[in-house]
């Protein structure tokens, strides 16, 4: 059960020792990610058939030892995240040159995946903080890979604001420990329900909202994202856009929906307006960008707003929609950034002013781009449609018309922004002659990862029933935490 964490740590260390052997790095990392994918798939299958799995380190029984708990939510997110990382590793064979390998792209990638999987699978809130720091330090390494001026500028903002967010997370955990006297999430869930009124739990929940909102790039705290996500290598941007903000959303779901349901409903008005502002301002930011990488950064932010709306609602349908949207967002946002990399290879630029004529140059890339844009804007047959339908329906059921309206308007604005990319970069005739000639073998290397992401995106859009069922189970496990607590304390414990 800890294989998804153990494999990347071991291979990350191994790759660090093999730094001089550039040719081995990509192969070892890909094999490691493939093993992690298999381990995560097996874990999810077992969790779905047998219920949450628990493992306690060193036989120190909970709540004293550090528990790892795999429930459908954590195992599902870990599986999708590992899949995205594997696809990115395939793209990196072309995108990361010898310099990038010498700087240690692959060890950082493996250590970041250790942090990501650890965060999804841990059952201890202090341990969650540690995994946050693990993937944060690895992401710093990835972000400054190459050390260009813009990268260092972006990394400085990213590093400082994210450090502040984790410090706030730790402060909230300190208060929680002072109030509840335990760090095991199942134990906290159990004890917090008896403390309403006698402990300042609403303050603690608000602090968590602030810290994780900052991590997830929610509206007033999102300025680090557009400042930094367009600066690194495109594979790094794809990994960050696909995975990192979603960990913030995961942590919000875990803390606000499972541990503090009562306090969440007190804060739901705040979360709702944060969600609306994030959606609308993200989409409007996307409209104003010339650099497609920066535009996609704003599309990521807009998606964060959509996911927050489920946290604001807190109903089973809303939470389920958020979970499904997070899965869609991991796939679609990584695909968007990889698409930007492919457009740079084929079209020669990242700027809308220079791009043009890709349709003539490469019809296959145009088809892939069309599918990915539809998914990112939330239109059929892409994967973004169903979670948005669920969230809009949940908002209307709860009587929150503004929220439903914002979900639809932000989707509309994203459609305009992405439609314009399609119009200018793909349909417009190339005037500037920037188009580079990429031969057939290189095209295969560029397109295979995009196809690998487009296939699940379309499957999720056309056959959503099975995925909605899993998301419903994951949401049910969060809202009714009895099964989770039961799995950690089978005998009832003290």
């Amino acid at each position: 059960m800890i294989a998804p964490v153990l494999i990347p740590i071991a291979l990350g260390a191994l790759l660090l020792m093999l730094r001089q052997y550039f040719r081995w790095q990509a192969a070892v990392a890909s094999i490691g990610l493939l093993l992690m994918l298999v381990a995560n798939a097996a874990l999810l299958a077992r969790v779905l058939s047998d219920g949450p799995l628990v493992m306690t380190m060193g036989r120190w029984l909970p709540p004293f030892g550090i528990s790892f708990v795999a429930d459908p939510l954590g195992a599902g997110f870990a599986l999708v995240a590992t899949f995205v990382a594997l696809v990115c590793a395939a793209f990196s064979v072309r995108d990361i040159d010898t310099i990038g390998r010498r700087y240690g792209f692959y060890p950082f990638l493996m250590l970041m995946m250790a942090g990501v999987n650890g965060a999804f699978l841990t059952g201890d809130i202090f341990n969650l903080y540690v995994w946050f720091e693990v993937f944060l330090i690895a992401s710093f390494g990835l972000l400054i890979l190459g050390s260009q001026r813009a990268q260092i500028d972006g990394a400085a903002k990213y590093a400082i604001l994210n450090l502040l967010a984790t410090a706030l997370f730790l402060a909230a955990t300190a208060y929680l420990y002072g109030a509840v006297g335990t760090l095991n999430m199942a134990d906290i869930t159990r004890k917090a329900s008896g403390l309403h009124g006698s402990a300042p739990l609403t303050t603690i929940a608000a602090l968590y909202l602030l810290a994780f909102g900052m991590k997830a790039a929610a509206f007033p705290l999102n300025f680090w994202l557009p400042a930094s996500y367009h600066t690194p290598r495109i594979v790094t941007a794809a990994l960050f856009g696909g995975l990192l903000t979603k960990i913030g959303i995961y942590a919000l779901l875990r803390v606000l929906i499972m541990i503090f349901p009562v306090e969440r409903s007190t804060l739901s008005g705040v979360i709702e307006w944060v969600a609306i502002a994030t959606m609308i301002f993200g989409a409007m930011g996307a409209l104003a960008q010339t650099d497609i990488r920066r535009m996609f950064g704003f599309v990521v932010i807009s998606g964060v707003g959509v996911m927050l709306s489920g946290v604001a609602l807190g109903s089973a349908l809303g939470v389920s929609g958020t979970i499904l949207y997070a899965v869609h967002s991991m796939l679609a946002m990584a695909a968007l950034y990889l698409l930007a990399g492919a457009m740079k290879e084929v079209g020669g630029s990242f700027l809308l002013t220079d791009l043009g004529g890709i349709y003539r140059n490469s019809p296959l890339l145009t088809c892939l781009a069309f599918l990915i844009f539809l998914a990112a804007a939330g239109l059929p047959p892409g994967s973004g449609l169903w979670p948005k339908v669920m969230l809009a329906k949940a908002s209307i059921e709860a009587g929150e018309g503004w929220l439903a309206g914002a979900i639809l308007v932000s989707g509309f604005l994203a459609t305009i922004a992405l439609g314009r990319v399609f119009l200018l970069a793909f349909w417009r005739d190339a005037e500037t002659g920037l188009g580079t000639t990429v031969n057939a073998g290189q095209r295969l290397e560029i397109y295979t990862p995009l196809i690998a992401l487009a296939v699940p995106i379309v499957i999720l859009g056309i056959f959503p029933e099975q995925f909605i069922r899993i998301a419903d189970r994951a949401a049910g496990g969060l809202i009714d935490s009895a099964v989770y607590v039961q799995s950690v304390f089978p005998t009832g414990g003290n």
Partner: protein, 125 residues
């Protein structure tokens, strides 16, 4: 005892936030370090302070008799200190590299990744 410490924690937070609000990178970095130490002290205080009895289980018993100091916050703080120290080292080098590359140590000069005179996207063909 807790009251004194909570005032101290508050003081640390105030100093940290004041420094973070500065325009200069080096002050922001120092502010983050002070902020991190405020959080460490907060964990320490949250675990309740007690120094009379060490949490050592005497031979023959299987738990500490009576109240004793809480050993857990120390383990938590040790972890947090190690992490925040390594981050501090990283951010310090990053700030120095930013100063070398960009030639500015204040945040108004750091506009390389988001230039002020960014053009709007084309409005038509």
């Amino acid at each position: 005892m807790e009251a004194v410490f909570s005032l101290l924690v508050g003081l640390f937070f105030v100093v940290g936030i004041y420094l973070i609000l500065s325009k200069h990178m080096i002050r922001i970095v120092l502010g983050i370090a002070v902020f991190g130490n405020a959080v460490n002290l907060l964990i320490f205080t949250s675990g309740r302070l007690m120094r009379e009895t060490a949490p050592i289980i005497p031979a023959g018993l299987d738990q500490v008799p009576g109240p004793a100091a809480n050993p857990l916050p120390q383990a938590l703080i040790l972890t947090a200190i190690v992490i925040s120290f390594s981050f501090f080292a990283f951010v310090l080098v990053l700030a120095y590299r930013a100063y070398q590359e960009i030639g500015a140590d204040d945040t108004t000069g750091m506009r390389i990744s988001e230039p002020r005179d960014d053009a709007l996207p084309p409005m038509g063909y």
